[in-house]
């Protein structure tokens, strides 16, 4: 074999000039009944996305869950099958979901079917009947689904973390117990619908191949007669995190441990938010972060660690999550605390910060580049009192956050001293090593 010279290194091509963030054409109207409608034009495909956000704070957990499960199960004039078939006929579909902040009806369909989708939406909002037989079926299905969720480690870890973070706040428990669901009947659902499904404070978002003003007209025509003045409950502010011993939730036989670390965070509009977002990215908020490069690409402890600032109406929290092999649970926690502590006490390097900044700015562009992404973004913003213009403001803040700002935010929010840590795993195997690092309190899985 002949000896050849090593190839000369090829340089990485530079990036072209950044394209300016361009917001799509949109229009907004508040109808006489109090419903806010926002329509956004993205004509790339002949579809329209629909999101109806209705505040649902302090809704009874089991009743709310079953309400969402049965809302599309029939009206005075249509059966559940008719609703589904009529929506399908225009390429459409609707689904309902609830969380402690909002009840959401969402879907997508051919844009030629927008009027029909809105008519059916109005029919459901004003006439959902909660028929006894359907409620019975959906109640059983919901119970089955909860049982399946309760066998998933990610769900169990989430449940334990929420309870640990939120204590007595309505966010503390977000999944009802099966027996609570079994106690809910149709009459209760009809009453809850009358109380909580109303247009005041609700926001309808339409995104797609529409002329925004004409889409607003269509919404007004279909939903103008939706009335009802039930109440809206204010959520109390989420309580501050209370650090304490690591909570170890015992799941015997688990071949992995679910590691969750919660840290304080601020809402989107807070002056620290952009710097916090960048600090979180440097720590563990994307693949090219210190935490992922450490515990995955260097140590091989885990597959998909991720860290995210979660925004809810009553407060924000940062959650770092990783599923790690049982035998390296304590070492994984050690590296997690090390990376948090390193960022909380030493400023990030300039190239690390620039990389995180580019990622944050670039992914804003990507998130806006589909109808579905845009609809979810506009709806999430609107549910928190913001409009799409905020995106440009946020981009400007991301662009000008300095290394000092990010270091300060890291010290304030990412300090491991403030962490609330929950581990779900095989306690017998992981407790001894975890106890060598931090005080540990052990509970069986599913403890009230």
């Amino acid at each position: 074999m002949s000896v050849t010279a090593p190839p000369s290194p090829r340089p990485l091509p530079p990036l072209g000039p950044n394209r300016r963030l361009k917001l799509p054409k949109q229009a907004e109207r508040t109808l006489a009944n109090g419903l806010t409608v926002i329509a956004v034009r993205r004509p790339a495909i002949p579809l329209v996305e629909v999101r109806l956000w209705m505040p649902a704070g302090r809704t009874h957990l089991a009743r709310g869950a079953l309400l969402a499960q049965t809302m599309l199960s029939g009206t005075q004039t249509m059966t559940s099958v008719q609703i589904a078939a009529e929506l399908q006929a225009v390429g459409g579909g609707l689904s309902a979901g609830i969380d402690p902040d909002r009840l959401m009806l969402s879907g997508a369909g051919l844009v030629t079917g927008l009027d029909r989708m809105l008519e059916i939406l109005a029919e459901v909002l004003t006439g959902a009947a909660y028929p006894g037989k359907e409620v019975g079926t959906e109640r059983d299905r919901l119970v089955d689904r909860i049982q399946v969720a309760q066998s998933q480690p990610a769900h169990l870890a989430r449940t334990a973390l929420l309870k640990r973070i939120y204590g007595r706040h309505p966010y503390a428990v977000q999944t009802p117990e099966p027996e609570q669901v079994r106690a809910v009947g149709p009459a209760v659902l009809r009453r809850l619908h009358a109380e909580r499904v109303h247009p005041a404070d609700a926001v309808l978002v339409l995104v797609g191949d529409v002329q925004p003003e004409r889409a607003l007209d269509a919404a007004e025509k279909a939903l103008g007669a939706w009335t009802g003045a039930g109440h809206t409950a204010e959520l109390p502010p989420a309580p501050p995190l209370e650090p304490g011993p690591l909570l170890l939730v015992d799941r015997p036989g688990s071949v992995q441990s679910s590691l969750r670390v919660a840290l304080p965070a601020v809402p989107r509009t807070h002056p620290d938010h952009a710097a916090l977002q960048l600090a979180n990215l440097v720590f563990g908020g994307y693949f090219s972060s210190r935490w992922v490069e450490n515990i995955r690409e260097d140590k091989g402890y885990t597959y998909g660690p991720h860290s995210l600032v979660e925004h809810s109406v009553a407060g924000s929290v940062l959650v770092a999550a990783a599923e790690v092999a049982t035998e390296v649970t304590a070492p994984a926690l050690l590296e997690t605390m090390y990376e948090l502590g390193r960022l909380a006490t030493l400023p990030p390097k300039p190239d690390e910060l620039e990389q995180a900044r580019q990622y944050a700015l670039g992914t804003l562009q990507l998130g806006m580049s589909t109808q579905a992404g845009l609809a979810s973004l506009v709806s999430a913003y609107a549910g928190n009192g913001l409009r799409l213009d905020f995106l440009a403001e946020h981009a400007a803040r991301l662009a000008k956050a300095t290394a000092d700002d990010v270091a300060e935010a890291a010290q304030r929010y990412l300090a491991p001293a403030q962490a609330v840590t929950v581990v779900l795993g095989d306690a017998e195997r992981v407790a001894p090593a975890l106890s060598a690092l931090v005080p540990v309190r052990t509970e069986p899985v599913g403890t009230e």
Partner: protein, 436 residues
């Protein structure tokens, strides 16, 4: 109200195709509606091509393609994509493996550089291999071993339906096989399958075709030419007698069952295949579909039921042999035999009595929405067109799919339903070991 038929709309994404001298096929599909691009490289190798004793190797190798290459240190690929504001990933399928990025449009040349560099050769080291074996084992624990219904049915049904290793084996791999993998295996696998002639590059989104063509030539033009390996015939005869197996899932709280029937060759008999894709939706798409209405709402014998073609639910990305699948989760103590009998009965009824007025048209309209929605993401177009080019030489088929789905006739759907007989069926049952 009369069921009016919705007109099925079409996209008109333009398509440019060319082949470089080294055999690399290229598809460009410009769309300037948002300042973003999708870049996909698809290699014509997947789970079916793994050697015996090396289960899970195609997927493990996919991980190794991210571990550095000629001009890129370990971690550099991730940092360069994300530092340009983009996202990346890769995935391993039965018939192909893809690598992809979504990026702001100003990062086009960088993405081409990154893909070309690893096409010339990844850095295969013992250290990186051991690290990624550990990562893949954790991936398998998350997705299969530490959760209920792990691998159901995409890993648990093929060994019931198929007899030959390529089609039947566990594509995630056994820990023994993964741990036995060597750097030499990886080098061989790369040499054989990751050839320029065995790959397709697709770029979609906010690009200028002339400029993109020039940049692709610059970065990929000197990737050494290697021809595509001969693709073996993975065909197997259809079943002539029913097959059924069961296993206990210690974590599963409820029973479940999945059944599969072979379907016509997706590539050589596309016209014969499409009715099965439509049939799966007629049977299970939403509350107005036949099996949901009957099993979920009327009989209440299942909690949920889903139907799709392809073991990964990827009807336009698979080659023969593949299948139509129906999978159900049952309530506590549910009767699997009864569920299978009812499905047979409903299939009979469909084959004999045909569809109700509007049933096919509304299903087709809904399918059009799903197909169009998938193409809205710039990456969805690049990936789909790359695979259509690779498997069919026809990336523009993406624009035609909603219409072709809409042209499937009632008679074709009935005939398809008539072939789903119990004696052609393979089923896998999950016994709820975690029932309380």
């Amino acid at each position: 109200m009369a069921a009016r038929r919705s007109r099925i709309p079409a996209t008109k994404y333009p398509v440019e195709r060319f082949t470089l001298d080294n055999g690399l096929r290229v598809v460009l599909t410009p769309d300037r509606s948002a300042p973003v691009i999708g870049v996909a490289v698809v290699y014509d190798v997947g789970i079916r091509s793994e050697p015996e004793g090396r289960t899970g190797f195609a997927h493990l190798f996919e991980h190794l393609m991210f571990q550095g290459s000629e001009n890129l240190e370990k971690l550099a690929h991730f940092r360069h994509v994300q530092g340009a504001g983009g996202t990346f990933n890769g995935s391993t399928h039965h018939d192909y493996t893809d690598y992809f990025e979504t990026l702001p449009a100003n990062a086009l040349e960088r993405a081409l550089f990154l893909e070309a560099d690893r096409m010339r050769g990844p850095r295969l080291t013992e250290e990186n291999l051991r690290n990624q074996v550990d990562v893949v084992k954790e991936e398998i624990r998350v997705n299969v071993l530490n959760r209920p219904y792990g691998g159901f049915p995409w890993l648990t049904l093929p060994p019931v339906m198929f007899d030959t290793f390529p089609n039947a084996h566990d594509g995630y791999g056994s820990f023994d096989d993964l741990e036995s993998a060597t750097v030499a295996d990886a080098a061989d696998f790369f040499r054989r399958y990751y050839a320029s002639g065995n790959a397709v590059l697709a770029v979609s989104g906010d690009i200028d075709v002339a400029e993109a063509t020039e940049l692709i030539g610059r970065h990929f033009g000197d990737v050494p030419a290697r021809p595509a390996p001969e693709r073996p015939d993975f065909g197997e005869p259809d079943l002539t007698a029913e097959r059924r197996q069961a296993y206990t899932d210690a974590l599963a709280p409820l029973p479940a069952v999945a059944s599969a029937w072979r379907v016509p060759d997706p590539i050589t008999d596309f016209a014969g295949y499409l009715p099965y894709v439509v049939l799966a939706e007629v049977l299970t798409d939403g509350d107005a579909s036949r099996l949901v209405e009957r099993l979920v709402h009327r009989d209440r014998t299942v909690t949920s039921i889903g139907g799709y073609v392809g073991f990964m639910g990827d009807p336009f990305d698979v080659r023969d042999p593949t299948a139509l699948l129906l999978q159900s989760h049952l309530p506590p103590g549910g009767d699997v035999d009864k569920v299978l009998r009812t499905i047979d009965e409903e299939l009979d009824r469909l084959a004999t009595d045909g569809l109700t007025a509007g049933e096919l048209a509304r299903t087709q309209a809904r399918m059009a929405t799903h197909l169009l929605r998938d193409t809205d993401a710039v990456l969805g177009r690049a990936l789909r067109m790359a695979v259509l080019e690779q498997q069919r030489g026809e990336p523009g088929l993406l624009n035609d799919l909603p219409r072709l789905v809409g042209e499937v006739t009632e008679e074709q759907v009935r005939s398809a339903a008539a072939t789903l007989r119990p004696q052609r069926r393979a089923s896998i049952e999950v016994i709820a070991g975690g029932a309380r």
